[in-house]
Symmetry: C2
Amino acid sequence: MPYPRTARPALIIGSVAIDRVATPHAQSDNILGGAASYASIAASYFTPARLVGVVGGDFPEKFTKLYRKHGIDLAGLQTEPAGKTFYWSGRYRENFAGRDTLEIQLNVFANFSPTLPPAYLNTPFVMLGAIQPALQLHVLDQLPRGKKRPFVLADTFDLWINTARPELERLLKRIDLLVINEDESLLLTGERNLIRAGHALRRMGPRAVVLKKGEHGSLLFHPDGFFALPAYPVTKFIDPTGAGDSYAGALIGCLASANRTDFAALKRAVACATACASLTVESFSVNRLSSAGRKAIDARLKELSRMTRF
Amino acid sequence: MPYPRTARPALIIGSVAIDRVATPHAQSDNILGGAASYASIAASYFTPARLVGVVGGDFPEKFTKLYRKHGIDLAGLQTEPAGKTFYWSGRYRENFAGRDTLEIQLNVFANFSPTLPPAYLNTPFVMLGAIQPALQLHVLDQLPRGKKRPFVLADTFDLWINTARPELERLLKRIDLLVINEDESLLLTGERNLIRAGHALRRMGPRAVVLKKGEHGSLLFHPDGFFALPAYPVTKFIDPTGAGDSYAGALIGCLASANRTDFAALKRAVACATACASLTVESFSVNRLSSAGRKAIDARLKELSRMTRF
């Protein structure tokens, strides 16, 4: 990929899974899933991506090839030949009003305790996918402090807010950017007003917060200001799985690509994230995201800019 | 008010009411309500407004004074001295998740059949508030056709979609702009995807459609393109009553002020509408909207532009 000269690598730590997904309209089995898959492919459109995760001996070669097609550095992808890859099966309810997990086999993911390869320790942009907060902290502990401290984005989800709140609160004090959706924000802050919620989340630690609202777009709360971006207008909505992971991956990738973390860079990264998430929901798995190409992303960035100007 | 030289009058037809409103946090009684009140005050910030409605002999002089303070032309406000003004009492549920009408006394509004004063017949910008579609059609029948045909914005609500659909469908074929919220859009089109819903609504007749999403902003569907604007970030949310009416009134007022109805003018009008609606929800009744002044609206317009740029 022809990355800009400013581009720095982005390190993505998270789950790699084999999914079975049923929507109200269709279903798909044995497809590539996991936060790190969506995030690293999205990030790879902007900057060299490094993936840290674990798979079993059953992990299909075609998925590894797909990562490689995107130039993703797999030095951090452990394979446990005797084990099986994390398997998740879920079904979305009518009108995509929530989803139910039908089956979950943690397999090799159960003992996942990410140890970063020495070559990764100085990666300047890091995304902590929504793994246990204790593991997110464990990764942070391996990273340099002080001047060489990386920019850290973290994702989380309702399970950890409910079951690992103290660790999550410690994590929030040590990250630069929290990416969170509406429901998780309500659970974490108790605040229904999204603007007040964004401010409350920032008071918990992160310098900046992105509040995702699905089809209603997203909000960025930053010390230098507030930014709101509508969603890209999607009419072919197939499967929302991985949209949030693609969003976060594109965000860290876009920042790493510019090697900047100021307000203007974050706003542009929110737009990159919005474009990638909109591609992800147009197919099962990473299919559309992976095949779309940078041109399709740039066209959506242009449209996002055009459609919000007045 | 110092209106621009392009400014043309905007005619607003709708309910005038005395309200009692209870929210989960507070309540207020004997306050000015009704779609035409909110809409004409909002419109008056941009252009001379003309109000067509009906009140009873009990209508407080202070409310008439308030209209006059905003320079609103009241030649179309009938008073029936022997009757009582439309009275509405409602209560919002916890977290503003819906509202219940506690009491409704139609009074003089029961026989409201708007006859436009001759001086109003050539008003080039018309807003039909959410009265019965048959009455909206009755107003349209009084307006000129052909070259002198005004630009017509119409509002509606779920009751008419459920009980007067044939008349509503006839109305939609005769208006330029439909302003509708998410729930009404779903009821009317059966389409949950908001982008497809907007297109479906346009196929029902109106040249342009504005889909309002409350705190998530609004979407404009126009032959020349798509426009999306987030809501203004409100943290002091007091009472949503009249937000939609202020929105529609500001929209027609802003168009009339520029004497333009092209895509660019409509986008700017959506921003004016968003700013006025955000002021309305910051108090009971029209209090904040009326006292805010044009400067506060312009400040919000500027912030809306700033906060969506990347």
